[in-house]
Amino acid sequence: MVHNDKFMFPYEGAWSDGREKLLCLDTGSWRVTRPVLDKEKCNYCSLCALYCPPQCLKDMGDHYAPDLDYCKGCGICARECPRGAISMMPEGEFADDSAKR
């Protein structure tokens, strides 16, 4: 029998920790295009955040910004934005800060 200290989850049930273990899939690395917001057009309606499949759009108070660790670049936010405020830009254009990830 494996000793308890080998277990990654602290619970006896089937629970895994959403903050540390569940979201550790590096889905951001799948991205080939990235959502870029034109703040002039955004009216902070939150539709992009509602539609985001991995729910990675963070509320910044007056707009939403993608968490690039998890954003897969699917483009649904850009497609659903009623004001066309989001454009999907090729990831290659951000080579410098991609390297940071």
Binding site: F7, A14, W15, S16, D17, K21
Partner: protein
Amino acid sequence: MVITGNATAAYGAMLCRPDVATSYPITPMSEVAEQLSAFRANGLMETEMVEVEGENSAMNVVAGASMAGGRTFTATSSWGLSFMYDAVQHAAGFRAPIVMVIANREAPGILAVSGGQQDIISVRDAGWIQIIVEEGQEILDTIIMAYRLAEDYDIQLPVMVNYDGFYLSYMATAIEIPEQTDVDHFLATLKEQPKRQVLEPGVALGCGTHGIEKGFVELRYRQCVAMERAAAKLDEIDREFGELFGRSYGGQIEEYRIDDADIVVVASGGVAGTAKVAVDTKREQGIKVGLIKLRLFRPFPRQRLVEALNGKKAIGVIDRSVGFGWDCGPMAMELRALTPEIGIVPILSYIDGLANLDITIPHIERAIDEVQSAALGKSYQEVTWIPLEE
């Protein structure tokens, strides 16, 4: 009180005060759902009854309510069990301590509105603890014990309490309904253990999810370890139940006239009662035969069986179901898996009681005679489909 097995199951559930109960009616357990609704309508219990559109929803409702921290109850049979199969597996993966009664009935494949144990055999690898009972009082008492087992912090697994559909489900017998205060007291022990993790608003927790592959292995491993713990725990709970209520059932298995027996019959459910009569008759004729009533089917009561069967000369196993892909009954196959521990002895498989056919006293006496003959070294038939030979 003289009530049917189904009504008894409903009383057992009511006494445990579930927070949420739901059930989609199906023959032969519909009366459980009707009784529970009546209890609720008459103000006898405060359980939230959820009306569902089918068994799959029923299992998902109780799984969700269980993950939210509630005590839950449901009931089904045969086709209903098949229709909820994905949710049945999910519930075990969620480690949701649901108690579900099943009035056993033939499973889909050949249409039969009749009794048999094929339904529980078809879910034996779903990850549920499976207990099979023999008679009415045992239904009620086992439901109470099942909550102690399911909600034990070290176990946290759903439990199926099985009784013979059509036979036990509809037969009315005298049942002693325990005092509510005694049941409350018996279940209060659960409050002394660490609180199990449940859904918490605002807390990012996954249930039955794992993130990465090793997490999957860990959850599966812990599910299996918890299942193994249930075997000895049932013995403990059964003893404690006996001290408080004056009735106990042997825990994982009931041993009947086993100690000095040369040969053993293994049976489960209502047939065990018939088998006891046959054992007594054969004892009078000088055959040293005993009976093992298999109460716990998952986890398989390996250790208890090995202790009870050690040194016995031959074993007969009565199955009310078939095992596809093995030329014997499912329980007989599992008994054969004990060979490394109990040694090579003849194990005779009997398939009987399919589709409501009676397993009669002469059927079992015939089996005992054949097992005795095999014990004396004579040749024997490994598998016998009794109804085809009558």
